[in-house]
Each structure stands twice: as C-alpha cells, then as structure tokens.
C-alpha cells in the first residue's frame, strides 16, 4: 500500500521522456502552424475592426463639420435675405407713405377748390334769389297797392292800420 502510494508521487522516467518529447514537438508545431496564424489573424481582425471604427468616427466628425458649415452658410444666407427683404419693405413703405401724402395733399387741394366754388355759386344764387324776391315783392306790392287804393275807404283803413302798427312799434 505504502509503496504504491509512493509511486504516485514518483515521476516515471518513461512518461517524463514521452511528455517532454511530445509536448515540445506539439509546442513547436502549434507555435509555427497554429498559434502564429491564429494570433496574427485575430490581431489583424481586431485592427481591421478598430480601423473601421476610427474611420467611421472620422467620417462622422467630417459630416458633423460639414453640417456645421452648411448651417453657417444657411444662417448667413437667411440673414442676407432678411436684410434684403427688410430694405425692400422699407423702400416700399417709404414710397407708399410719400404717395399717400401726395394724394392726400392733392385731394385736400381739390376739396378746397370745390368748396370755394360751391360757396361762390351759393352766394351768387342767394344774391339772385334776393333780387328776384325783391322784384317779385315790388310787383306784388304794386299790384296790391293798385288794387287796394282804388277805393277811398280802403285807403283810409290801410292808413289807420299802418298808423296803429307804427304806434304800437313806437310804444
């Protein structure tokens, strides 16, 4: 029992020999034909992925830059347009204002003249009317007087009446 146990921790020469031989052979073969291509291609793949990622990042940054410059241009263009529009609006406003002023002044002048004409016409008409009324009154008075003063009694009554009224007016 003890002997067998001892042999467990006592390395057997044959196994040491074969282990050394085969392990070193396999190590050599694998190092040359397996680990080298595997590690290389792993490394290459990682590099490719890394490159692709960094390129993508660069592209993204470029796009962002481009976007920023585009936006700048757009902003400038928009500002210019605003300016132009504003100027145009100002010009138009000014034109409109002057036109309005002119039109108003003309209209005022026309109205003034029209009013003057109307007033003149009115005065002429009133004067004429007064003259006609006076003429008519005289005619009427003449006629009435001619009619009424044919009769003496009537003359007397009229004189009285006029006298009374004159009295009344005096008092």
């Amino acid at each position: 029992m003890f002997l067998v146990t001892l042999s467990l921790v006592e390395p057997a020469f044959g196994l040491v020999f074969w282990m050394t031989l085969s392990f070193l052979t396999v190590l050599f073969i694998l190092a040359k034909f397996a680990w080298k291509p595997i590690l290389n291609s792993l490394h290459e793949r990682e590099k490719t992925i890394e490159d692709a990622l960094s390129e993508a990042k660069k592209a993204r940054e470029e796009i962002a830059n481009m976007k920023a410059s585009n936006e700048d241009l757009m902003r400038q263009a928009r500002a210019e347009r605003e300016e132009l529009l504003k100027e145009a609006r100002d010009v138009r406003d000014r034109e409109i204002a002057t036109a309005k002023d002119k039109a108003k002044a003309e209209a005022d002048a026309m109205l003034g003249r029209a009013r003057e004409d109307i007033r003149n016409e009115k005065n002429a008409a009133i004067t004429e009317m007064k003259n006609q009324v006076a003429e008519l009154s005289i005619l009427v008075a003449e006629r009435i007087l001619k009619e009424k003063l044919g009769d003496p009694a009537a003359q007397k009554a009229l004189v009285d009446k006029v006298m009374t009224e004159a009295d009344l007016r005096k008092s």
Binding site: M1, F2, L3, V4, T5, S7, L8, V9, E10, P11, A12, F13, G14, L15, V16, F17, W18, M19, T20, S22, F23, L24, T25, V26, L27, I29, L30, A31, F33, A34, W35, K36, P37, I38, L39, S41, L42, E44, R45, T48
Partner: protein, 386 residues
C-alpha cells in the same frame, strides 16, 4: 495510510444513504465504464484484509480492495484495461545499458503472470530477471543490477493517452488555424467560435495582464499549456476509452510542464530579476546571507508548487469519484441490498462531483497558465525608475 481515512469516509457516507432499493442501472447510465472497471476489479483485487465473504458468483470470492482499485486507476499501467478481462495491449519499449533495446507487446507479460525476454512486471513495474525467454513469473528471479540499468520508455496507458491528446490538440488547432487563414477577416464559425473566446481569454486575461507588453513571445507556450491541461482534464473525466487516464494528475506530466515554465522563467530573466535574487538592492550585506538562500529557494519552489497543485487537484478529483463508486461494492460485500442502497447516493454524488470537476478542469488549466505567466512577468519586469 490512505485506507483508514477512506474507510471512515465510506462509513459516514454509507450511514447517510443506506436503506433504499434499486438504482444500480442509474449508476450504470452515468458512469457505466467506471462501474464496469470496479466490477471487474472485484475479480482481480486480492483479499488484503480477509473479509468473511459468503459468495454467490466469482465476484464475491475475494474481498474488495477499494484503495488498490483507486490507486491502480489513478496510476499507470502497461496495456490499457478496457473492460472485464479485455485490455488493449501497448508496446513495451525498454532500453538496457547492457542488453540494448527490447520492444514487445505488453500482452506478453500476461498481466504479470509471465516473464518475457528477460523482463517481467512486478507491482506494475518492469523489472529485469535472470531467466531468458518465456518463463512463468513465479519461477523468475529479479536481477537488481540489470533492473537499475533498465530505462522503461514503454507506451503505457498514460503515454498512449498523452499521444492521443497531442494528436487531438494538433488536429483541433491546425484545423482552426486553417479556418483562420481561409476565412481571414470574417466572423468565427463552428469550432473556431468555441475556441476563440478561450484563446482571447488566455491572451487578454492571462498573458497581457500578467506579462505586460512583451506577452506575444510567450503566447505559444501559454496557449499550448492551457489547452493541453484543459483537454486532458476533460479527457480524464470521460470514463470510456480513450478517456479516463489520469494524465494531468500524474506527477511526471506536471513535472515536465513545471520544468518548462521554470526553464522559460530562468532563460528570460533579466538583470533586474537576478539582481533581486542574488543581491536584493537596499539590503545590508549580512542580511543577504539569509535573504539570498530564501530567494533561491523561492525561485525553485514556484515551479515545484505548480507541479504539486495540478497533480493534487486532478488526482483528488479522480480519487473522490472512484471512492463513491467503490462505496457501492464495499457495501455490496456485506449485503446486496446495502450495495443497491448506497448506489443511489453514490450516483448522485458522482454526478455532483463530475459537475465540480468540469469547473476544476478549467480552473486548474487557468491557474497553471496564469501563475506561469505571472512568474514570466516577474522575470522580465523592467526596474521602475525612482
């Protein structure tokens, strides 16, 4: 030494799981070959302690020696025992400084019953005998002098398993390397995608973190060692041929691995490393008298511990798994019912242990590789400028 402990463990465990009925076929389903091996060892094992056994059948004629069975299993043998009385004969290769080379099949020994060509098996070892040709082992006399001059480089069970695992390693990794060159720059596929994370793990978490920027030079060794240990740990868990050998739990194998690590550390050690071992800077001369031997001892202890750790962990796993199965037959000797009862518990515990051993298989491969990388890293570390 080991046996009383095992027996005590059996008794405690048996008391827990005694009393149930039939579960032997369940045990067969999980680990049938180990069970087979156990069953056949019952025939072979000699009655060491003379249990009183009332027999029905051949199996009960001799006592069951669990300790011998377990030690036989975790040890090495000439020829590969498959099942029952069938073993796969393997070539015996001997070199004797006086007799020269002898190569013959291990079946010529007839399991230690015959001497052949001046050699015979004695307690699992090849010894030289005085008689030549085919002689019965009982009549042969051991020649101590010639035995000492004999170098046994036979293809034993462990060597065979070693060669099989090396062939597997070559096949797996050469085909994967082919896949990498064929599908360059593309996503991994199949076996490649199973192995790749492990390779990356060894590269990033073992080599890069422990060695530093010069890790690339040591990657071939670290990867080979990692996959060799991992593969053989897993093969050791498979009870059927060509698995089941206790290769990474063999001290010769772990010795070679540890020696290679030691060699790499020693040869890549820079001035800074040797300076720290032989003349620790900033330490007065009289302290160095004590410190330098301690440092040298530490340098040698590192690979020694590497060797022992892997050996002990894997061997312990095999011993535990086999102990649970031996339990069935230890109890089966006293009564068949007890044997069946214990079988249920043994089966459950073996399944649990197998799960644990899967984890251990990976962890031990990782620990060995990581510590190797740490030692290499310490040897090539550049001094920090103060």
């Amino acid at each position: 030494m080991l046996k009383p402990l095992l027996r005590a463990a059996f008794v405690i465990f048996g008391a827990l799981s005694l009393g149930a009925a039939t579960a032997q076929h369940e045990a067969h389903a999980t680990d049938s070959t180990t069970a087979h091996a156990v069953a056949t060892e019952v025939h072979a094992a000699a009655a060491a302690e003379g249990h009183s056994v009332e027999g029905h059948g051949e199996a009960k004629k001799k006592g069951f020696d669990a300790g011998k069975l377990i030690l036989d299993h975790i040890g090495d043998e000439h020829g590969w025992h498959l099942w029952g009385h069938t073993s796969l004969p393997l070539p015996v290769i001997l070199y004797n400084t006086q007799r020269g080379f002898s190569v013959f099949s291990s079946s010529r020994f007839e399991h230690g019953h015959k001497a052949h060509d001046g050699y015979m098996l004695h307690e699992g070892r090849v010894v030289a005998v005085n008689e030549d040709g085919e002689v019965d082992a009982h009549h042969a006399t051991v020649n101590e002098e010639l035995t000492k001059a004999t170098w046994d480089i036979s293809i034993t069970k462990n060597v065979m398993s070693l060669l099989v695992s090396m062939a597997l390693l070559l096949w797996i990794f050469l085909s994967i390397a082919g896949a990498y060159t064929r599908r360059a720059g593309m996503a991994p596929k199949g076996l490649q995608s199973f192995i790749e994370p492990i390779i990356l793990f060894v590269r990033d978490d073992v080599a890069k973190s422990a060695i530093g920027p010069k890790y690339m030079k040591y990657m071939p060794y670290l990867l080979t060692a990692f996959f060799f240990i991992f593969l053989n740990n897993l093969l050791g868990l498979i009870p059927i041929f060509p698995g089941g050998a206790n290769l990474t739990g063999n001290i010769a194998v772990t010795l070679v691995l540890a020696l290679i690590t030691f060699g790499i550390v020693t040869f890549s050690g820079n001035k800074h490393y040797w300076h720290h071992i032989f003349a620790m800077p900033g330490v007065p001369g009289w302290v160095l008298v004590i410190l330098t031997p301690v440092e040298i001892l530490g340098m040698l202890l590192k690979p020694f511990v590497l060797m022992i750790r892997l050996f002990a962990n894997i061997t312990a796993g095999h011993i535990i798994a086999l102990s649970f199965f031996s339990l069935i037959f230890v109890f089966g000797e006293t009564s068949a019912g007890a044997g069946y009862g214990v079988a249920i518990g043994s089966w459950a515990f073996t399944v649990f242990m197998a799960m644990l051993e899967l984890l251990v298989a990976f962890i031990q491969a990782y620990v060995f590789t990581f510590l190797s990388a740490m030692y290499i890293g310490a040897a090539i570390e550049e001094p920090q400028h103060h």
